[in-house]
């Protein structure tokens, strides 16, 4: 079994993260922006600052790198291609978005089910499309 191509993993991972971040801007930064601000206000907190948003974008890149590592790791099992990228993106979405949103936001009743649901579904689109885009750049030959 060949080794993982680390250079391509980094390239694909950064692209996956950037695509995810751009889509996240549309979902959380524009569409859900008022909802986030209103619900942060309930806890006496200001809307997210530019510094916090930059951190979230940085974490988006880390998630992209992890998604492409999972893609590269499972490629010998499932073969290269979109189907494998969807598997990788889906498992990373459950771990990085669905479970934490559910555990940290919804179960303790910090944020409404509406916001958690929409943000999580938006995250699914972001991570799946990002992983497919990044996986398209990953090569081992």
């Amino acid at each position: 079994m060949g080794k993982i191509n680390v250079g391509r993993l980094i390239l694909g991972g950064v692209v996956a993260g950037i695509v995810g971040d751009i889509l996240d801007y549309l979902v959380d930064g524009l569409w859900l922006n008022k909802m986030w601000s209103a619900q942060l206000g309930v806890w006496g907190m200001a809307p997210f600052s530019m510094r916090q948003i930059l951190w979230f974008e940085f974490f988006g890149i880390i998630i992209g790198l992890c998604a492409i590592w999972v893609y590269a790791g499972i490629r010998p099992r499932f073969g290269p291609g979109v189907k494998t990228a969807i598997y990788a993106g889906f498992v990373v979405w459950i771990l990085s978005t669905l479970l934490p949103n559910f555990a940290l936001f919804w179960v303790p009743h910090f944020f409404s089910g509406h916001l958690v649901g929409y943000s999580s579904l938006g995250g699914l689109v972001e991570i799946l499309i990002g992983t497919i885009a990044g996986a398209a750049l990953y090569k081992e030959d």
Binding site: I4, G44, F59, F78, L99, L104, V107, F110
Partner: protein
């Protein structure tokens, strides 16, 4: 390449999840209990109830199942054994604990740096040990 043994993923995943939940009790349920209480009070929030703790434990089981699915999926790449289980566990911790905790607990400003750091480091032990335990039960022959 053989197919994933789904029955063994479920068996190993449930065991991994139970180990995660068992280890989480002394860490978050006992050692960090005061810190969780103080942070929740600072937000004007009640302590977690029994219903919420049951949900957290269910999420631990889902985490265990995903960890063993990743272990099974990357096995053709890295081979069976503890090293591969540690790789899978580290990936699950990075994506499912480290990034969400730092982003949602600390950067979002909901919880203290101290609590975020210790619960995240505790999560490393929980997830890696749980994944090793569950992976020991995964077989394809």
């Amino acid at each position: 390449m053989g197919k994933i043994n789904l029955g063994r993923v479920i068996l190993g995943g449930i065991v991994a999840g139970i180990v995660v939940d068992l280890l989480d009790y002394p860490i978050d349920g006992m050692w960090l209990a005061n810190s969780w209480h103080n942070n929740l009070v600072a937000l004007g929030h009640a302590d977690f109830g029994a219903h919420q703790i049951v949900l957290f434990n269910l999420l631990g089981l889902v985490t265990g199942l995903l960890a063993i699915w990743i272990y099974a999926a990357i096995r053709p790449r890295y081979g069976p054994g503890v090293k591969t289980a540690i790789c899978a566990g580290l990936m699950v911790w990075l994506v499912g604990v480290l990034v969400p905790n730092v982003a949602f607990m600390y950067v979002a400003g909901l919880f203290s740096k101290h609590l975020t750091m210790w619960t995240t480091l505790g999560g490393l032990v929980e997830v890696v040990v749980g994944t090793i335990a569950g992976a020991a039960l995964y077989k394809e022959d």
